[in-house]
């Protein structure tokens, strides 16, 4: 066989190669390369965005944790504050109550004392009055008794007159 035939291109073969190659480019461009590369690129984008979203979520959770910690700390300090305030208030109330109670007790005591004094004075006055009335009564009775006799009456008047003349 002629070796030159190896390096002599056949026209028919070139013609069919052009047809087949062009057909392949047209068909594969529409039905293979475009869908494959679009799918791969879309997938890449999806993966990237998913990774980004995961990163963001992690950051958010971290922030959330920090927030939680902060809130917890704040709550703790607030609770301490509240407890302290409550304790103070309690102490105050107790002290106040104590003071008030002692004041009241004193007042009551004083009032009772003065009342007792008043009652005493009243009783003494009444007693005095009663003694006076009693002594007048007694004196009346004694006088009545002594002045039952006519002679006694005259003596008594005389004595009084005598006393008056002297004055």
């Amino acid at each position: 066989m002629d070796p030159m035939s190896l390096v002599t291109p056949a026209i028919g073969l070139m013609f069919w190669t052009c047809i087949i190659f062009t057909l392949l480019i047209v068909l594969l461009r529409k039905f293979a390369w475009k869908p494959i590369l679009t799918a791969v690129d879309d997938r890449n984008e999806q993966i990237n965005s998913a990774l980004k979203a995961a990163d963001k979520a992690r950051l958010e959770i971290e922030n959330l944790n920090n927030d939680n910690e902060r809130i917890l700390l704040e709550a703790k300090s607030e609770r301490d504050q509240l407890l302290k305030e409550a304790r103070d208030i309690k102490d105050n109330i107790i002290n106040e109550a104590k003071e008030k109670a002692s004041n009241e007790a004193e007042n009551i005591l004083n009032a009772a004392k003065s009342q007792i004094e008043n009652e005493k004075m009243k009783a003494i006055t009444e007693l005095k009055n009663s003694v006076a009335v009693l002594s007048i009564d007694i004196a009346e009775k004694v006088l009545k008794n002594e002045l039952k006799e006519k002679s006694n009456q005259e003596d008594f008047i005389n004595s009084i007159l005598k006393n008056s003349e002297l004055n």
């Binding site: 390096v7 028919g12 068909l27 494959i36 791969v40």
Partner: protein
């Protein structure tokens, strides 16, 4: 060196996939293919003139027959006992189109007469017109049929992957998990780095180019297959498309480098400009020769190594054949693996250089 690493990673990906497949469901298939391959080669190579034992077996006709195009798809056997698939012959002679099956020639023993035109096959398997007219041969030859087969294989592989990828929003599975990384490798490691930012409009062409060469290289390695990418007409068309695409994409600075090379003294212009113009054509010309020569050479080496057995038989008798056969088969096996590597490598290089030429023609100088 980066591209060498890329090739390595790329081949490793393919090898890993093949190993995975061969370990599971495809193992019997691979073994069968390999056995069929050896049997095919041996049967196809069996010399027809074994009665003439004085003469040393000449392997050249059989080898040339294997790497040349043909009007029929020869499977096995010689002469009367040969089995081949007839293919349509399409001839355009003096304004009329004649179509008939190649089996009408009866392997060159009879002529085909249509109206007043009579066609015959010469000893090289070429069709000629007996009255001296020059028919233009548009036949579906073995190579054309093989390319149609490649077309079907490619459409099946890539359109199915496309359909699968379009529907699937998760990680790729099955066929897509094999094809997608290949497509991405071609795009991200061959096309993108060499063309630059405006690579998108060249993607369909370059991806098709890569896989057209790859699939045809691999189909050519199957037993009984055609030598498509080892045919100069096909590599000529592919490199001609490279030439056209490169020069159509060429920007101002590309053309000014050719017709007004910067930093060149005026006296040298008459030498430099023709050199630059020749350079436009030598680059795709080298592509054409490289692919054609690599694939043809691979086929020739494998066929020669097998022919060694028959040469030994014709020279030393059956004992010689049995002595040479194991060594020969081992070498063939080794070459076959090398050829698988070359199939990928040549597709890679052709696409890489085409991308590089386009990149050089479109690069913006500031």
């Amino acid at each position: 060196m980066l591209s060498a690493l890329n090739i390595y990673l790329f081949l490793r990906h393919i090898l890993a996939y093949i190993l995975k497949m061969s370990n599971t469901r495809l193992k019997p298939l691979f073994t069968l293919l390999f056995l069929i391959g050896i049997i095919f080669h041996l049967k196809a190579e069996s010399p027809s003139t074994s009665n003439n034992s004085d003469e040393l077996y000449n392997p050249v006709p059989a080898i040339m027959h294997h790497i040349s195009d043909s009007h029929e798809w020869h499977l096995w056997g010689e002469g009367e006992g040969s089995v081949s698939i007839p293919l349509p012959v399409i001839l355009y002679t003096a304004g009329s189109l004649d179509i008939f099956m190649s089996s009408a020639f009866h392997h060159g023993k009879s002529n085909v007469k249509i109206e007043d035109r009579e066609y015959s096959l010469d000893s090289h398997g070429h069709v000629f017109e007996t009255s001296g007219l020059h028919p233009i041969d548009f036949s579906i030859t073995k190579n054309v049929a093989s390319m149609f087969l490649a077309l079907i294989v490619m459409l099946l592989l890539f359109v199915l992957t496309g359909l699968k990828s379009k529907r699937n929003f998760g990680a790729p599975t099955g066929l897509a998990s094999f094809i997608e990384p290949l497509v991405l490798f071609v795009r991200d490691d061959i096309i993108k780095p060499n063309i630059g930012s405006n690579y998108k409009k060249y993607l369909p062409y370059l991806l098709t180019l890569f896989f057209f060469i790859l699939i045809n290289n691999l189909l050519g390695l199957l037993p009984g297959a055609a030598n498509v990418t080892g045919n100069i007409a096909i590599t000529l068309v592919l490199s001609f498309i490279t030439l056209i695409v490169t020069n159509i994409s060429g920007n101002k600075s590309y053309w000014s480098h050719i017709f007004k090379p910067p930093g060149v003294p005026l006296a040298l212009m008459p030498i430099m400009i023709p050199i630059e113009i020749v350079g436009i054509f030598t680059k795709p010309f080298a592509l054409m020769i490289r692919l054609f020569a690599n694939i043809s050479a691979g086929h020739i080496i494998i066929l020669s190594l097998i022919s060694l057995i028959f040469m030994a038989q014709s020279g030393l008798g059956n004992a010689g054949a049995f002595g040479v056969a194991p060594v020969s088969v081992l070498f063939v096996l080794f070459m076959y693996l090398i050829e698988v590597l070359v199939a990928f490598l040549q597709a890679y290089i052709f696409t890489l250089l085409t991308s590089l030429f386009i990149g050089l023609a479109t690069v913006e100088h500031h």
